[in-house]
Symmetry: C2
Subunit: 166 residues, 2 copies
């Protein structure tokens, strides 16, 4: 079977933010990301999972660490305008990804990635997938361990080389 | 500025599931997706956002609707093995996406997508992004409205054509 994973990527320069406990109704995500776009803040990941039992939801996203202060100031305005929501953020995170082609058609690949990281005792804070990339947000302090673990998992023949970072 | 969005996609054949209130500790995601992979169940989206205040998290994912029953049976086993977690699922969902290139570098594109859907009174159940695709899970009943709204937003010059579905 041809190799599906072509490389491993680690990004230590992103920070993770979220507006939590926002009303799960039309227009909320539009209001949040409209505000970010109007202020020219580039967003990398946007992750929103299933709603909570109290009909609120959390909207998480990442920005470059250099945009943290501007983003926090903006979120305070959005929270005031919305009249609801809490602001959450974590700075010491890293986004680690496996990169490839057609990964969605290979059920085991995400599982293999998660197992490799679990064996290195790495907690997955956030998870997001696409056909060409499976990404996890983890503690920044564990980023190097994560890359090594993923390298061992997906490039075992290259055990003595430097990880193939993209 | 060159067009970033090249097409609109709608998939009405997926169902949304989640294991909710699982311990936010290493190995949990690995256990869940390891079980799915061992049973050859293909997963499309995997979405996990920030943890909850009680140190649990929710792990959401989608599968083809034909795999729903097998997946639910399997989740009951995983829940029993884990000794924790609840099973959540929704069948009447659709995944609508805008597809393009380099979309992460254009801050306003996700905002424009969310605004177009909000104006059509469509609630965004889940959100996931990559450089080439921004996807939202919505009510299946609103899928056609969603595609029309996105078409008006991103292909206004083609207002009288059929939406350019990929
Ligand atoms: C929570 C937020 O995504 C909301 N469901 C919306 O559509 O904007
Ligand atoms: C919730 C789940 O993703 C957990 N954090 C894990 O690492 O497996």
């Amino acid at each position: 079977q041809s190799r599906a994973v072509s490389g491993i990527a680690a990004d230590k320069k992103q920070v993770e933010l979220a507006m939590t406990h926002v009303p799960d109704q039309p227009g909320i995500a539009a209001q949040l990301f409209g505000a970010l776009a109007s202020n020219n803040i580039s967003v990398d990941m946007i992750i929103q999972s299933v709603r909570q039992d109290d009909n609120t939801n959390d909207i998480a996203f990442t920005v470059d660490q250099t945009d943290l202060q501007d983003t926090l100031t903006l979120l305070e305005k959005v929270k005031a305008d919305m009249g609801s929501g809490e602001i959450y953020y974590e700075t010491d995170v890293a986004k680690v990804s496996i990169v490839g082609v057609g990964m969605i058609d290979r059920p085991g690949i995400a599982a293999d990635m998660f197992k490799a990281l679990a064996q290195a005792n790495i907690n997955l804070k956030m998870i997001s997938t696409s056909e060409i990339k499976i990404s996890c947000l983890i503690d920044q302090a564990q980023a190097d361990d994560a890359v090594r673990a993923l390298h061992r998992q997906f490039f075992p023949e290259a055990a003595n080389d430097e990880p193939k970072l993209v």
